[in-house]
Amino acid sequence: MRGGTTREGKSAETEPARTWSRPPSIQGGLTAPATTIPATTNPARREWILFLRRLARRRTALFGLIVVMLVVVAALGAPLIAAYDPTEQNITDRLKPPGSLDTAGRAHVLGTDHLGRDIMARVLYGARPALMVGFAAVAISGVLGMMVGLFSGYFGGRIDDVFMRLADIQLAFPFILLAIAVIGVLGPSLPVIIVVIGVSSWVVYARVVRGAVLSLREREFVQAAHALGSRDGRILLRHILPNAFTPWLVVATLDMARVIVIESALSFLGLGVQPPTPTWGGMLADGRVYISTAWWLATFPGLAILVTVLGINLFGDGLRDTLDPRLKL
């Protein structure tokens, strides 16, 4: 590092110096001091351990990961954690404030809604559609974008032109409007929502992967593979894809946060997963009507979205800073 005695702001890195990190360990196991690792571990595993250690040193990223895990546990374990059935109505216990007890002495920790349903249970179960849409849509757009990026970057030429113009068209749409229009026409259901979000979100992945492939294509190990007579398919799968995976993963993580917000926005508008399945957005839409008399209806599902999305964003930011600090997202 040059000019060690300059005043504040000498480093452009966005993180304080104590969270020291270097770009991905994937770029070569050479960075690892061999002495710190048991000799028995294979190189790939060693890199993973190093990467995890580095990630764990970023406290905010670790915090984000823990939050996300808790949400996943809440979604999977909802039947065990919740004291009530999320769709069980109880007209005598309508709009009870948080902490009220029902006749059986059980507590409505977060209160009840306008139909006397337990909000705690609904918030827990509401994590399910959110995560399901999040994972599935990201899987679709991620795979699509990865393929487009690989082909576009590797083969270039006409294929590249066509895909990148398509990407421009896609980006010219105010996305949520398009999603609303298509879902409104096709009718809201889980598969439709997943496919619409998934198919329309490939652009960022494609651009990032394409960028990575463009530079990888010229690297020695790819040229060597060419010289050895490897076919294009093998080079793409074996040599390029693993190295383009890092930026892809960062995009996928941060995109998941965006998809969850979109899912809840759609259910808020009544175009998401339909009742009686509890959704955070749907609960917010219900709660909005009672905003002047029962604040807890709209507050808790919103907090659930906020916490989940914040957790994913923190983790994604940490992932980016650990793996690829130059990635601008």
Partner: protein, 305 residues
Amino acid sequence: MRIYLARRLAQALLVLLGVSFIVFFILYLTGDPALILLPPDASAEDVQKFRETMGFNDPFVVQYGRFLAGALRGDFGQSVRHGEPAFNLVVERMPATFELAGAALLVALGLAIPAGIVSAVRRNTLVDYVSTVVALLGQSMPTFWLGIMLILVFSVQFNLLPSSGRGSLEHLVLPAITLGLFTTARITRLTRSGMLEVLSQDYIRTARAKGVSDPPVVWKHALKNAAIPIVTIVGIELGTLLGGSVITETIFAWPGVGRLSVQAIYNRDYPVVQAAVFLLSSTFVLVNLVVDVVYTYLDPRIRLR
């Protein structure tokens, strides 16, 4: 320069063509538009006649061509619900949406740029931490929840600001903050990281070394260079704002295109949906074209690409 402009214009036209195709396809997806446009008690004979006169029996390409020709003339058909031309309905509500999006953008730029600069200059101080955390929260908060919470606090609890409708400046405050929040958060983070990068450059050190005091270094030397990515993102964020208006307008009963299109979807009023999506997308394409042209003046390197 001229070549660049021509290429950029051709690209915008191509994008608009793509937009028109998708908008047309929306109606095509519904299956049989005759069943939607006609009252449910229409006889099979009437349906057949209607299909013939409306040209729904023609090949796909012919139908698309007709739609495109109509769209270019501003003819998207009659609104099923209101009995008026869909185009007029949408255009009437455009000023409200632009007003809201413009106000949100002002809020965002007015808050984000100073916050980002202070954050970068006073890096790792309390101010920086607070602004970073607020930006992170802002980026993670669903707009519709923020809107409801703002209504809860400012309209229900303290009765300070109106919660719905359009008219006075007071009506604009809550919707503009709600819509602008996400953009504010994004631009804050972008300004901070951009400024940090620029502040570590050699020419900044040179300026300081030759004795230029702090404020001019930050405002003149650094900000100008950090502004370039901010200008780009303003164009992209406008798409977020136009799209986000759908939800913000619904919450605050703001009489704009977003609310109109949500209602049109509920009413299955597809000509209005098509006109709204097409016109909002076109606005977005146009704004981005302008941003790109402005951009080439700011950063001459772009022209050489």
